[in-house]
């Protein structure tokens, strides 16, 4: 028994159990959350070289599961998010919540499916296995966003379908070319021939759709804005990150030798454009959830701004990039949950409707504000520590444009995130009505506190994320085709 298997098998078991128990299946989360958390912690404390092939079938036939640093931090982050979002959903999707019962029941199996898929994706090194994991997560994501708006879910579905097909096309080319789809084997044999380059290009295109990088982000704002709060939280926290992790594995491990600086620079430029574009759109939104959704578009941009920095000098930027991803995971999940609660209490969905909310639900607004601090990259928070590391790397390399984007993005985030907070604190006579569920604010607050606390453990995090990192094996990344 190893957490590498159990982290996938356990949520799948819970999915079956949730289906079997029907209406009462929602209580399973009370068992699943602590169980999955302990599995994730177990994974973190495995010996550094933890890896094995499923069923004992060796490569290139079998599938290698590997608990490297990236897998560890992302699995842990996803476990924190999913466990707390699940607890919140226990309230959100209860029969008393008044939603249709099909919706209330449909949530749980899809939730566990997404969890299993995300873990499977973080842990595997097999590109085809990643395709299946990607489909699990996308399917669950579409199903969850359909609980809010069908129109948005259908658009997301078509985007995801095209993204998957592009990725699959790349996998097919790679298999035909190399006879293997394992990242560790490809890293050894990859050559810069036409098939490989085309495979990398189309796979990256497909995965950029999944990770919602500008200009391929079109599915994200409507789907996030309409979905129920726990679903939006999962979409922003987990779905988007899986695409990103696969891209990390492709560009910095499997094809590290092919990653030409200009191509990595293109990704960085798209990231910078995403930061600016997402921030501007977020500033223009009138609805709270739309604002938070565009903030995800901007924050995803940071992850790709880090790409050229990692390619040039991995050790510092690597921890900044992973830390940013995990901090965003936690903070954005907290923010969506808090926003969901705030909108339930507010008379409408606009930011202007939040007047006086801080009086009615101080804890929820505090959770929102704490999450905002991390997203703005203000200290002491995970977002800050990540920005600090990235900025350090950018200045080190003389990449002043990226440094300016990092800082400017933080300032713009402060502008658009401050708006709802200021409105919530203003006005004594808002029309908000307190929710009769005092415990509902626990999950967003806990997530936001985790995002803040992450800032205090920057060094420990960096050490964890560097376990088995491709650049730690002595080879420099990129630059030399």
């Amino acid at each position: 028994m190893s957490p590498l298997d159990l982290l996938v098998a356990t949520p799948l078991g819970f999915m079956l159990a949730a289906l079997a128990f029907g209406g009462q299946g929602r209580w399973l989360i009370l068992v699943a959350s602590p169980l999955m958390m302990s599995l994730a912690v177990w994974l973190v404390f495995l010996p550094p070289d933890a890896a094995h092939v499923v069923g004992g079938w060796d490569l290139p036939l079998g599938i290698l599961l590997r608990g490297d640093g990236v897998a560890r931090v992302f699995v842990l982050g996803a476990a924190l998010c999913a466990a707390l979002v699940g607890l919140q959903a226990l309230y959100e999707f209860s029969p008393q919540s008044g939603g249709p019962s099909a919706r209330n029941r449909g949530f749980w199996p899809l939730f566990y499916l997404m969890w299993a898929g995300a873990n499977a994706g973080f842990l595997t090194t097999d590109l085809f296995n990643l395709y299946v994991a990607l489909e699990m997560v996308s399917l669950a994501g579409v199903g969850l966003s359909a609980l809010g708006s069908l129109q948005a879910a259908l658009r997301y579905f078509l985007f995801a379908l095209m993204g998957s097909l592009a990725y699959l096309l790349g996998v097919a080319l790679l298999f035909a070319n190399y006879g293997t789809v394992d990242i560790t084997l490809l890293a050894r044999t990859a050559e810069a021939d036409a098939a490989t380059l085309m495979a990398l290009a189309v796979m990256t295109g497909g995965l950029l759709v999944k990770s919602a990088l500008f200009p391929l982000h079109g599915w994200l704002p409507p789907a996030h804005a309409a979905a129920p709060a726990p679903a939006s939280a999962l979409l922003s926290a987990i779905v988007v990150k899986l695409g990103f992790v696969i891209l990390m594995r492709l560009w910095f491990e499997a094809f590290a030798t092919l990653a030409a600086p200009i191509a990595v620079g293109l990704l960085g430029a798209l990231g910078a454009a995403a930061v600016i574009y997402g921030s501007i759109q977020a500033m223009r939104q009138r609805q709270l959830k739309a604002l938070v959704a565009y903030s995800t578009v901007a924050q995803v941009g940071y992850l790709f701004v880090a790409f050229p920095l990692v390619a040039a000098a991995p050790s510092a930027a690597w921890s900044g990039m992973t830390l940013h991803a995990v901090a965003h995971m936690l903070a954005k999940a907290a923010m969506f949950l808090a926003a969901g609660l705030m909108l339930k209490a507010a008379p409408g969905r606009d930011i202007a409707d939040l007047v006086g909310l801080a009086r009615v639900m101080p804890v929820t607004v505090t959770a929102f504000a704490l999450a905002a601090i991390s997203l703005m990259g203000l200290p002491p928070s995970g977002g800050f520590a990540a920005k600090f590391m990235l900025l350090d790397a950018a200045l080190d390399q003389g990449a002043y444009i990226y440094a300016a984007v990092l800082l400017g993005g933080g300032l713009m985030a402060a502008v658009y995130l401050f708006r709802p907070i200021a409105v919530a604190f203003s006005g004594a006579h808002g029309r908000a009505v307190a929710l009769k569920a005092p415990l509902a604010a626990v999950a967003p607050l806990a997530l936001a506190m985790c995002a803040i606390a992450l800032g205090f453990f920057g060094v420990a995090f960096a050490e964890l994320a560097a376990i088995g990192a491709p650049w730690a094996q002595g080879d420099a990344i990129g630059g030399v085709p």
Binding site: L19, V53, G55, P60, I63, A102, A176, G179
Partner: protein, 320 residues
């Protein structure tokens, strides 16, 4: 000779695909899509991949085709005539240029890769250990059993997602209210079903059984069963159970559950997750395949039929 056949087949595939993609009428498009699927099946036969041919014809063309046809007829009933909005010429030209470039590049890249069988030399020596002879089954259920396990959950998840779209009011209904209304065709379907159903059951059982040694297996068997179920439902012979009924739940879950349990048992007995204990490989694989076939049949049938539809107002009045 065979080369000429290949080329002819490929041209036909391209032609049917072109018609399916660009013909004006939606039903015609789907009809050609099914034809396209069958031709693809032939292509797979020509490639020597009988397993895929079976899967393509049964699942790719059959089940997808049924699902799309049903969707189209429901859309027609709802007043959506699937009219095609013409995209502006500029946008079409741009798209054409983009896709042409993409096709040329892809074809060029494909020609740089020498065709060849890369892994059967690796697979073959491992098969005797499993006690089965069909290498594809070996890959699906042993070497890449993890993929297959996850994939069965994708199927289940798609079903759950589709059903959670159902409004509560129609949740109490069986999966479809669409039964052939024309009496003659209904009698034909009924009679056809009574003949077909037992045959399908036998074929399915056989396909699973031979699947370990000859082409066949759980997916193909499941698809055949699903086809029989769909026809029977449309003929009004069988009423599919509701998703929350016990029978449906057992049928859907038995496959994934068996697979997962055997996988975990392998890990618990000291081996690896999804490792089969020595000597029991074939028994376990066949067990999993039968369980999977049931679940796949139920899942594909329910997916193809689609979730229960909210009845239009006049239909509801008729029902009273």
């Amino acid at each position: 000779m065979s080369a000429a056949f290949d080329i002819l087949l490929c041209l036909m595939i391209l032609a049917t695909a072109g018609i399916a993609l660009f013909v004006r009428g939606a039903f015609a498009a789907i009809a050609f899509f099914i034809a396209f699927g069958n031709l693809l099946g032939l292509a797979w036969l020509a490639l020597g991949a009988v397993n895929v041919a079976l899967a393509e014809i049964a699942v790719g063309a059959g089940v997808t085709g049924v699902a799309l046809i049903l969707a189209c007829s429901r859309l027609f009933e709802l007043g959506d005539n699937l009219a095609d909005v013409r995209t502006p010429l500029a946008s079409r030209l741009g798209s054409a240029a983009l896709c042409l470039g993409f096709t040329v590049m892809l074809a060029g890249v494909v020609l740089t890769i020498p065709p060849g069988d890369r892994l059967s030399k690796v697979v073959a020596p491992l098969l005797p250990g499993l006690g089965i002879e069909n290498p594809v089954t070996g890959v699906l259920l042993a070497f890449r059993g993890y993929d297959t396990l996850l994939e069965t959950f994708v199927l289940l998840g798609a079903l759950v997602a589709a059903w959670s779209l159902t409004p509560d009011a129609s949740r109490r209904l069986p999966p479809t209210t669409m039964v052939m209304t024309d009496p003659t065709s209904r009698i034909v379907a009924e009679a056809f079903t009574r003949l077909l159903a037992p045959a399908a059951l036998i074929i399915a059982a056989y396909l699973v059984w031979v699947g370990s040694d000859l082409p066949g297996g759980a997916f193909q068997a499941g698809a055949v069963l699903a086809g029989a179920l769909v026809v029977a439902t449309l003929g009004g012979v069988v009423v599919l159970p509701r998703l929350d009924s016990l029978a449906a739940r057992i049928a859907l879950m038995v496959g994934p559950l068996t697979f997962l349990a055997i996988g975990l048992a392998g890990a618990a007995l000291g081996g690896r997750f999804l490792a089969y204990p020595d000597g029991l490989e074939k028994t376990l694989i066949v067990t999993i395949e039968y369980a999977l076939a049931i679940s796949i049949a139920a899942g594909l049938a329910l997916l193809a039929i689609g979730p229960p539809q909210p009845m239009p107002n006049n239909a509801r009045a008729d029902a009273r």
